[in-house]
Amino acid sequence: MKTRRSPLTGLAAVLVFVFLYAPLAVVLVFSFNVARHGTMWEGFTVDWYLRLLDNQAALAAAFNTLQLACTSTLFATCLGTALAYGMSRYEFPGKRLFHHVLHIPVFIPDIVLAVALLLFFALVRKFLAGFELGMTTMTLAHITLQIPFIAIVVRARMADCDPQLEEAAADLGAGPWLTFRHVTLPLMMPGIVAGSLLAFTLSLDDFVVSFFTTGPGATTLPILIYSSVKRGITPEIHALASLILVVSAATVVTVAFLRGRTEVKR
């Protein structure tokens, strides 16, 4: 498609990129702005970042967010990887149907999943004394959200690999376990890493599902930002948001880098 490179297309594309990154850039810029109110630039400062360190609510929320993201990603990675491996290697009745079920969380509006889980947890609470909405329910909800993403990424990676490699390993004297350990797992690894990193960002950024499945006391950063936005934004929130932006973007770049490296190798 070398023929279609008119300067007009290029200009339009660049404008679209500017459009895509404008909101991110604005938040980043404002996090360094001296001005407490208004949209005028009054000078550079890192004061807002430093003040975050004294903000107990923000620190607690950050801790909650990280704990939530790490726990749920860990569980979802194990479950999702096993699922992807099982689904790409073995048959079971209803596999096609389940394949479609896996895509539900990808397409479904967040809010529907959120209220469905809220209803479900409310139901469980009726029968299970002591079951409270909070970190546990949020973790369960996030794992549900993450499993399909990891499974889809890992399966795509497995589909890219030559199925004969496992036969070659068996041919060279490796039994099933050695084949898995020395061939299948190393080949799946880029997919697992990419999938879990994406799942981590998913959990880090999720607001809607967390908002509905959380309980009193378990606030995450996105929930904190939401309530701040509703009440009125402070530059501290800009700083906090910028930090999340940078972490997410860095994760995605890492994933892209990993994918680029493994794709060249094929």
Binding site: L165, A169, G173, H182, K265, R266
Partner: protein, 391 residues
């Protein structure tokens, strides 16, 4: 392999290559210790498709054996069954004289060179080659020694640190070969090992592979759809079609005495026609054909087959001479329809009666008058150059 094997294989490798007499009849006693692979009535179905329809085959220790046939004839399925990567529906398989079907792939003393090489992309060349030895938990000093020596043998020592994606097709092929050879298998299986290479590289590697096989004395079972490759490299060739072995023999036997028109046409180019038997004296047949009356001499082995009046006959294009021939040859008068040169040889289409014959002649620079389309020419065919088909 130049180094003594320290593996605990239950078979003994021949130290030196001992070539069995290729003219020995194919049906050897199953108890003969020189057989390394024995297949009995192997069948394999994939749904409606019959990949193997009862294949029986014996492969002798130390020979270069080729399975030749068009795609879908079951040759790769047979290879995969020997490797343990597939199982037959019925039939029996013995490797080294012992039943092998109950053994999984990783316990069989065979190694495969895959068609697309199947090199592990996450391992370097030397790690790829060491894989089999590592899986057998050999001491690392042994692994290094054997890996190095096999890389020397296949001339890939300078590539040791590279990864498969940094290799050319020919280099990948060598690595795949080294990775299989380092295990000192009783049988090395090669699944179209040169399918992905260009013609020139192929010729070079054919020669090299053949020399390597003689040097190591390992049994090679080679699958190919390229008849030149099979004829050039093999001690014996099994021609397969539609899940069956249609003919098994040495390359010369297959080329000079094809039994069916499928074999005759699959291996090389040939002129086929039908004829009526008129008279027969010992090995000499006299037949009436569209080309005229022909005398045909058959070898002693096939003489019993010709108790019919209707015969199918064939002759290779280069066995028809356009330069006078010998006394006692069949002589035919024809008209040149077209003539072309491929460099080393001249290819002529000659019409004899209503039949178009293909005639080729090596360009030796002897012919004083060049032939042109429309010239009449006298063709001579020696009686011994015909072959009789069974179908």
């Amino acid at each position: 392999m130049t180094v003594p094997s320290s593996t605990t294989f239950w078979f003994i490798l021949p130290c030196r290559f001992t070539k069995t007499n290729p003219l020995q009849p194919a049906e050897t006693n199953a108890a003969d210790g020189s057989l390394v692979v024995e297949c009995q009535q192997l069948t394999r179905r994939f749904g409606q498709f019959e990949a193997l329809a009862g294949v029986s085959l014996n492969i002798r220790r130390g020979e270069f054996f080729s399975l030749l046939g068009p795609s879908g004839c079951g040759k790769t399925t047979l290879l995969r069954i020997i490797a343990g990567l597939d199982l037959p529906d019925t039939g029996e398989l013995r490797i080294g004289g012992l039943p092998a079907l109950h053994l999984p792939a990783w316990k069989r003393p065979v190694n495969t060179v895959f068609q697309n090489y199947a090199l592990f992309p996450h391992l370097s060349v030397s790690e790829n080659i060491a894989f089999g030895l590592r899986m057998k938990r050999l001491p690392s000093a042994d692994i290094v020694r054997r890996t190095t020596s096999v890389m020397e043998l296949t001339q890939i020592l300078p590539l040791a640190g590279r990864h498969p994606h940094e290799l050319s097709g020919g280099q990948k092929q060598r690595v795949a070969l080294a990775r299989a050879l380092v295990n000192e298998p009783a049988v090395l299986l090669l699944d179209e090992p040169m399918g992905a290479l260009d013609a020139k590289l192929r010729k070079e590697l054919q020669l090299e592979l053949r020399q390597l096989q003689r040097r190591l004395g390992i049994t090679f079972v080679h699958v190919t759809h390229d008849q030149d490759e099979a004829l050039a490299m093999s001690d014996r060739v099994a021609v397969m079609n539609a899940g069956r072995i249609v003919q098994l023999g040495t390359p010369d036997e297959l080329y000079d005495r094809p039994k069916t028109s499928f074999v005759a046409e699959f291996i090389g180019v040939c002129n086929l026609f039908e004829g009526n038997l008129i008279r027969r004296t010992k090995q000499l047949l006299e037949t009436e054909t569209p080309l005229g009356r022909l005398r045909i001499e058959l070898p002693a082995t096939t003489i019993e087959l010709s108790e019919r009046s209707r015969l199918r006959l064939g002759v290779r294009p280069e066995r028809i001479a356009m330069d006078g021939g010998q006394p006692g040859d069949n002589r035919l008068l024809g008209i040149v329809q077209s003539i072309s040169s491929s460099g080393p040889e001249t290819i002529a289409q000659v019409r004899v009666g209503d039949t178009l014959l293909r005639v080729t002649e090596l360009n030796m620079g002897r012919r004083s008058v060049a032939l042109h389309a429309g010239d009449s020419v006298e063709l001579t065919i020696s009686p011994g150059n015909f072959f009789l088909l069974e179908d």
